[in-house]
């Protein structure tokens, strides 16, 4: 049977994240935590392959202990096993050690045929992690997939590129990053959710993965954030104009060379 790993991340619901009007920083405290939406699309393709040919699906996520709820949700949608990669040593990681840590997890699982992930997360939108994992593992990768199928040892995917679609056929093992909204994820089932809660989520730390502290977390991150700047939205000039004033407005715009009136 196929072994599939789906990489997911718990993120604050982007529709509920507010920008602090004074500090100009993101206020995530009010936003509820959800599974990164594109990851659910990735999971759905994994589940479709499971429905078609049978597969063991393991969901993995690197994050704080409370991220187990996101993994349980994926199990309630049909994944078989959940592993939370959590350790203080992993804190502050940029995309490089994140990729390394996830790759180490997949390597430890062993015999993985397909690795899925969303193409990017809504909270950082780098799109680095999926390709990074493939490189660390030394396997082929398919990015920007909007359709994914599996047949006789091959993943057949349609990539959504700027100048058109590209259909590729890649032999396993392969890593696939899936575009947001490329399918409709199935609902959670009560039966599966009860079973998932009873089964629980495994927790792996730096020792289980055999990684060194200097390779992971902040210490293993080559990115240095020097400063952050909030880009202010330009002020929009709103004016309410009643119809009887329209001639004045037109004359004003013509005088400022903003518009031209035909024939003149």
């Amino acid at each position: 049977m196929l072994n599939i790993v789906v990489m997911i991340k718990q993120v604050p619901d982007s529709s509920e994240v507010e920008i602090d009007p004074v500090k100009m920083t993101l206020n995530r405290t009010k936003a509820r935590n959800v599974v990164n939406a594109a990851d659910l699309n990735a999971l759905e393709y994994a589940l479709r392959i499971k429905d078609k040919v049978g597969a063991n699906i393991t969901v993995i996520s690197m994050g704080p202990p409370m991220a187990d709820a996101a993994i349980i949700e994926c199990m309630a949608r049909g994944a078989d096993r959940g592993i939370l990669i959590t350790d203080r040593a992993f804190a502050g990681a940029d995309t490089y050690p994140t990729g390394l840590t996830l790759a180490a997890t997949i390597a430890k699982l062993g015999n993985v045929d397909i690795v899925f992930g969303g193409d990017e997360t809504t909270d950082s939108s780098t799109g680095h992690v999926g390709p990074g994992v493939a490189e660390f593992l030394g396997i082929d990768q398919i990015t920007y997939a909007k359709e994914v199928d599996y047949e006789d040892g091959y993943v057949i995917a349609t990539r959504d590129l700027e100048d058109g679609d590209e259909i590729v056929k890649v032999h396993t093992p392969v890593l696939v990053t899936v575009l947001l909204n490329s399918n409709v994820p199935r609902h959670q089932s009560l039966r599966k959710k009860i079973d998932a809660i009873r089964k629980g989520v495994e927790s792996w730390g730096i020792n289980e993965l055999g990684l060194k502290p200097e390779w992971v977390g902040l210490r293993g991150s080559p990115t240095i954030v020097r400063s952050m700047k909030a880009i202010k939205e330009p002020e929009h000039l709103h004016k309410t104009i009643t119809l009887d004033k329209i001639d004045e407005v037109v004359a004003d715009l013509v005088s400022k060379n903003i518009i031209k009136v035909g024939g003149k």
Partner: protein
């Protein structure tokens, strides 16, 4: 052998209170909630009156997310240009801490967490399709084709009782059974709220309004509660009347309420944060489903346990109490669940304020949802107040003469006023 002792449908005040009580009694409980997290499907003001929760969570006020305590309670009639209010501020009310202003999104999540801590299995983000009935007995619930079994089910699904309807255990809701509520949450700085509503940072203002300025035929109440740094503003409109007057939409009513001169100033410069609509049980005894059957009990809004006499709107306390009583009934009959043993739930409800209040105030809907209360009364009161307070250099009249003139000018007979007024006082 069932998978669970009890399945509770809905992690609102009724469901979570029931689950806590059952788990404390050593039962294997599954608490299933549609919202994720609990409270996200709720639209409520809200004021929680009383202290029933201390029966299952001692010292609950210490950890509960309470926004403010009601120290200023108002009941007001709004006409187009006026507001006639009974305003009660009291230090005793402050000391008693009887009315807790809460935000249900936070409160329900907190209470569901208490149920989980007590040992219930909390499952969120799942909607139950219906109860599974086998040989006349409820043996569990159905979701997405799967059957999860239990010895008993507590239905605490709220004002839109889909599970009961899908299970054939109550008729579909009619316009008499429910009203339509709309609530807006408006952000205002805490100190602005304190100043504007004349409360200190612990104290809060809660007000119910009769919206007497609406178009003929449309009946709607309004409410305004101060949270810590938001204000909950909303309406509860009669569906009957909305349907009969097709040109008026519920959001028009909300818009007019927000724009009313005496409301507008209270929410000035506020930033709208949430806007949502929900059904509100209003039918009382006549709309109530059967409260128990072989293997199931109905609690809270799903049982239509709400109270409104125009002076106060209550429901959360009825939900909590009914949830606890349902749990008690099941605990007392462990291993011998039947229609007969569960019927004791109704006795418990009758002995508590839940059903007593519903019987005492049976028919109150005909008073609160009447043109007399919502249209004529505000106009008469407005005429009376205006003649009392507007000095025009004319000889003054006795109150009775003023009242009589006000009644006449509003096209009513004095005897009608007395009989309507008497009926109203009796029902309230």
């Amino acid at each position: 052998m069932s998978e669970f002792d009890v399945i509770v449908i809905g992690a609102g005040p009724a469901g979570s209170s029931a689950a806590i009580k059952l788990a404390q009694g050593g039962m294997n409980v599954l608490l299933v909630e549609r919202g994720d997290p609990p409270g996200t499907k709720n639209v409520s003001g809200a004021v929680l009156w009383g202290d029933e929760l201390s029966k299952v969570v001692p010292d609950w006020e210490r950890s509960a997310p309470i926004e403010r305590y009601v120290t200023r309670k108002e009941v007001a009639f709004l006409t187009e240009k006026s507001k006639i209010a009974i305003s009660y501020s009291s230090q005793d009310l402050m000391e008693r801490k009887s009315g807790k202003i809460i935000v249900r999104g936070k409160f329900d999540q907190w209470l569901a967490r208490k149920a989980k801590d007590a040992g219930a299995m909390l499952v969120t983000g799942i909607t139950i399709d219906k109860l599974v009935i086998d040989g006349g007995k409820v043996i569990g619930v159905m979701q997405d084709g799967d059957v999860i079994t239990s010895d008993a089910v507590i239905v605490a699904e709220g004002a839109n009782p889909r599970v009961l309807i899908n299970s054939g255990l109550r008729p579909k809701l009619s316009d008499h059974d429910v009203a339509l509520g709309i609530k807006e949450t408006i952000k205002l700085p805490e100190n602005v709220i304190n100043e504007r509503f004349n409360v200190d940072s612990k104290g809060g203002y809660a007000s119910e309004f009769v919206l007497g300025f609406l178009d003929d035929g449309i009946l709607s109440g309004g409410f305004l509660y101060t949270n810590r740094d938001t204000v909950s503003l909303g309406i509860v409109a009669s569906l009957d009347r909305l349907r009969a007057n097709g040109m008026t939409h519920s959001y028009d009513i909300m818009g007019k309420f927000e724009e009313h001169p005496f409301i507008k100033n209270l929410i000035k410069d506020g930033i709208p944060d949430e806007y949502a609509a929900h059904l509100v049980p209003e039918g009382g005894l006549a709309s109530m489903p059967k409260l128990y059957g072989n293997g199931y009990l109905v609690t809270g809004d799903a049982a239509m346990f709400t109270f409104s006499n125009g002076m106060v709107l209550q429901g959360i306390n009825y939900a909590i109490t009914s949830g606890i009583l349902a749990a008690e009934t099941i605990l007392e009959n462990k291993g011998k669940i039947s229609e007969e043993t569960l019927s004791n739930y109704v006795n418990k409800l009758r002995n508590s304020y839940v059903l007593s209040d519903l019987y005492t105030f049976n028919g109150i809907q005909n008073v609160t949802w009447s043109d007399f209360t919502q249209k004529t009364m505000p106009k008469i009161l407005d005429s009376v107040m205006m003649s009392m307070f507007d000095e025009r250099g004319m000889p003054k009249k006795h109150l009775m003469q003023v009242l009589s003139a006000a009644v006449k000018s509003n096209g009513m007979k004095y005897t009608e006023l007395i009989s309507s007024g008497y009926r109203m006082m009796r029902k309230m």
